[in-house]
Amino acid sequence: MSNHAAITVNRSREEVERLWNAEVNGTVTFADAPGDRGTEIHVELNRSGNPVSKLLSTKALAKVKDELRRFKQRVETGEIPRSDATPEGERVERKFKQRPAQPLAEGELEKAGLS
């Protein structure tokens, strides 16, 4: 069972550490990625070790990955990707309850906070 999530952002280490604002339940470290690849962000999840929390940990890890991806998307592209199936962007909770891939109606746009 992996406790570790990592992502690489193609910006300098100084910039990434300055812009870092995500809330993750774990220890965050930064490292230079090789060559022109930018900066690696590593998250070691806090684990309490008991069996129940081990079961919940897949979801915790997925959430951390979501946060890392959102940070990377904001820094590299200026926005988070939204699709019609996931108008609020990627969320672990949404994984199995997605909208169909068609545009949102007016009411749905308001609910997703997008109108």
Binding site: T8, Q73, G78, E90, R99
Partner: protein
């Protein structure tokens, strides 16, 4: 607006759905003037791609007129005529900066899902299941185009829609297949599959200087198109003689083709008897997701030291992959969803120069409402169908 939506296995319906809106600053909205049905849409239609949901709008080959732009889009204006690449690419990540647009690291809002299947997420794609993001597709009257400052190609000429529409997918895809073969002049290239992508792979190999291009398929009419219109020098109909590897050896003095292009993908129709039966049973019972017979034959047929270029779409795992042949013959494998944005400008120039007229593949032009019958006709290869263009 009207749109073609997936409604279950072997079913599409044209329904009324909401019009798309700008959701992000880098979005644009395009009013679609022409769109097409792709061979890879058939994998969705046949139910072989997981994560489809009823109501998903299909279609990833489309073009039209820009009707709205987000605040972050400077390169496009309302009224511009554009053709839109099927991979959705941010332009900023490492992959995009290296022009590997179909590997964009940021554009798939269902990256977690894709990561489970492939180990890493890849770019979002219009209208191609929730694995690639759940973006609404382009077989509709309007589409929302994310990262509109990166993707859409602005057109400024008098070419008809059908002459430029295929810059969205199948022409660059076929071209990339031929590009992978490292043609310098004088080669023999074998193209497995004479569907629309195969036709463009053949035409591209011809444009790039291959001396002989061999088209392989089971439908005579597609082989005729390959020969008459796409420039194939030889054809093999495996419905008449199933041993493709031997026929290719015969056509190449025993050497085998210098490079082979797999433009077939996961629903290969052909197989030698028992292995094919096993493939079909396993695929029908979902024990394996691919029928990889074209790929197996391609690897066995390719000359030692040659190149295997895979542009046919695969989704999962296949059995009985000839690793021994691959390794011992020292083959190079190149594969991928096409990096359309990398190829689109040079290919647009080739069209403008008169090097190629891509509209040759269009056998059917229908209004959008006919989509359900069009899918069936295309799927079953009836009425000499090669490529269907839909008009919203």
């Amino acid at each position: 607006m009207k749109a073609t939506v997936w409604s279950g296995r072997n079913t599409v319906q044209v329904e009324n759905v909401p019009d798309p809106k700008i959701l992000n600053d880098r979005d644009a909205i395009v009013r679609i003037t022409s769109t097409a049905i792709c061979g890879s849409d058939l994998h969705l239609y046949d139910g072989y791609v997981p994560t489809m949901k009823k109501g998903d709008i299909l279609g990833h080959e489309f073009m039209g007129e820009v009707v709205e732009v987000g605040r972050g889009v400077d390169n496009l204006q309302v009224g511009d005529r554009v053709v839109v690449p099927f991979p959705i690419a941010c332009g900023n990540c490492w992959a995009c900066r290296h022009e590997l647009y179909s590997l964009c690291e940021n554009s798939n809002p269902n990256a977690g899902l894709a990561e489970k299947m492939f180990g890493h997420p890849t770019a979002g794609i219009f209208g191609y299941s929730h694995l690639t993001g759940g973006y609404a597709g382009g077989q509709a009257e309007f589409a929302r185009v994310p990262y509109a400052d990166v993707g859409p190609l602005k057109l400024d000429d008098d070419l008809s829609d059908e002459q430029v529409l295929f810059l969205s997918d199948i022409f660059p895809t076929g071209f990339m297949g031929a590009d992978f073969c490292e043609i310098t002049g004088g080669e023999v290239i074998a193209v497995f599959g004479a569907g629309p992508v195969g036709q463009f792979a053949i035409a591209s190999a011809v444009m790039l200087g291959a001396e002989r291009v061999i088209a392989i398929d089971q439908y005579d009419y597609r082989l005729q198109m390959a020969r008459n219109r796409a420039g194939a020098t030889d054809v093999i109909n495996f419905a008449e003689d199933a041993d493709v590897v031997e026929q290719l050896k015969a056509l190449t003095g025993g050497r085998g083709p210098d490079a082979v292009i797999d433009a077939v993908g996961m629903e290969a129709a052909h197989g030698h008897g028992a292995l094919h039966a096993v493939d079909r049973v396993k695929q029908a019972t979902r024990m394996q997701s691919e029928r990889g017979h074209a790929l197996r034959d391609a690897i066995l047929a390719c000359r030692p030291g040659g190149i295997v270029s895979i542009i046919g779409v695969y989704g999962g795992l296949m059995d009985k992959f000839p690793t021994g042949a691959l390794m011992n013959k020292g083959l190079t494998v190149k594969a991928g969803q096409c990096h359309v944005q990398h190829y689109i400008k040079p290919l647009y120039e080739r069209i403008r120069n008169g090097d190629i007229d891509p509209s040759f593949v269009v056998t059917h032009r229908l209004e959008l409402g006919k989509a359900p019958d069009a899918y069936e006709t295309f799927k079953h290869k009836l009425d000499e169908c090669v490529k269907v263009v839909l008009k919203p």
